[in-house]
């Protein structure tokens, strides 16, 4: 009701934006492991963490902008992230190191 379009208080929206920015920065930091990681699984774990950080950023922006529909995007993104991790782990077991 209060979230349907009306903005949240400036303190809360500022805190949400700050947290979203922090999560984006942490995702960029984690990309170092994706670039560097000696094994394929290191890269997959890094991508998994970046993906879950993205889900959190989308949810935080949904709360900050007061747009509840963004949460659907976050749900779909979380599902795709999970499926990606499972698929790549199964694939690397079958085929060896491919990346």
């Amino acid at each position: 009701m209060s979230a349907a379009g009306s903005a949240v208080s400036p303190l809360i929206s500022g805190a949400l934006f700050a947290a979203a920015g922090a999560f984006v920065l942490l995702g960029i930091v984690v990309f170092y492991r994706v670039y560097r990681g000696p094994t394929v699984q290191d890269r997959v774990i890094g991508v998994n963490i970046v993906g879950s950080n993205t889900v959190i950023v989308i949810a935080l922006l949904a709360a900050a902008f007061g747009r509840p529909t963004f949460l659907d995007v976050a749900l779909v993104y979380a599902l795709l992230n999970f499926l990606m991790s499972i698929a790549i782990s199964k694939f690397t077991v079958e085929r060896g190191e491919v990346f």
């Binding site: 949400l16 699984q41 949810a59």
Partner: protein, 203 residues
């Protein structure tokens, strides 16, 4: 004026960012895949759950709170499951865990095996560059020989990164994976060669 709900939201956000930061630090600093997965799965899941709880609190009494609760439950289940699947795949491929013996062969007996976790990586570079005993001079050429092959693609890394690669170079699989930064930079030089090496060291 600040209500209790706002304080709770800010506290949850601070906790979520803190645990995500812990996960990122663990992912960058820990020595091998299994410890990295350990840090990443648990800490990042807790950070995600705290942040999404803050989102659910902001939406208040609404239908969208149910969506946020679904998201929390989903992250809580899938994040450790994905990490478990990845680590299991790594175990099936025969990637060996990093052990204390790897650290001692890398650091050398002069540095002592009982150092704390924060100083694990620092004697690696010191022992690599300036050994004070004959036994540590034995280990020094190893560190010198493994380092250029590993740090060639990303030679502009910082000091902490170099010490971490010195840690990594101790394990057997890291010797085989020394060419893998090439695979990261050049997309794939020879995937078959990598797999053959991991297969050969497995036996």
């Amino acid at each position: 004026m600040v209500s209790i709900g706002e304080i709770a939201v800010v506290a949850l956000l601070v906790g979520g960012v803190f645990f995500a930061f812990v996960a990122a630090v663990g992912l960058l600093r820990l020595p091998d895949l299994y410890t990295r997965a350990h840090a990443a799965s648990k800490s990042d899941t807790l950070g995600a759950v705290l942040s999404l709880a803050a989102v659910a609190l902001v939406f208040g009494t609404d239908v969208t709170t149910v969506k946020a609760a679904f998201l929390i439950a989903f992250m809580f289940v899938t994040n450790p499951t994905a990490a478990h699947a990845i680590v299991r795949a790594a175990h099936d491929q025969g990637i060996e865990p990093w052990t204390v013996a790897d650290r001692e062969t890398e650091v050398g007996p002069a540095a002592g095996g009982e150092s704390t976790e924060g100083t694990v990586s620092e004697p690696a570079t010191d022992g690599g560059t300036s050994g004070d005993g004959a036994s540590s001079e034995v280990t020094a050429p190893d560190a010198e020989s493994t380092e250029p092959t590993r740090t060639d693609p990303t030679a502009s890394d910082g000091e902490a990164i170099d010490s971490e690669t010195a840690d990594d170079g101790a394990t057997d699989r890291e010797g085989a994976a020394g060419a893998d930064p090439d695979a990261g930079g050049g997309t794939d030089p020879d995937p078959d060669g990598d797999r053959d090496r991991t297969g050969s060291e497995q036996r």
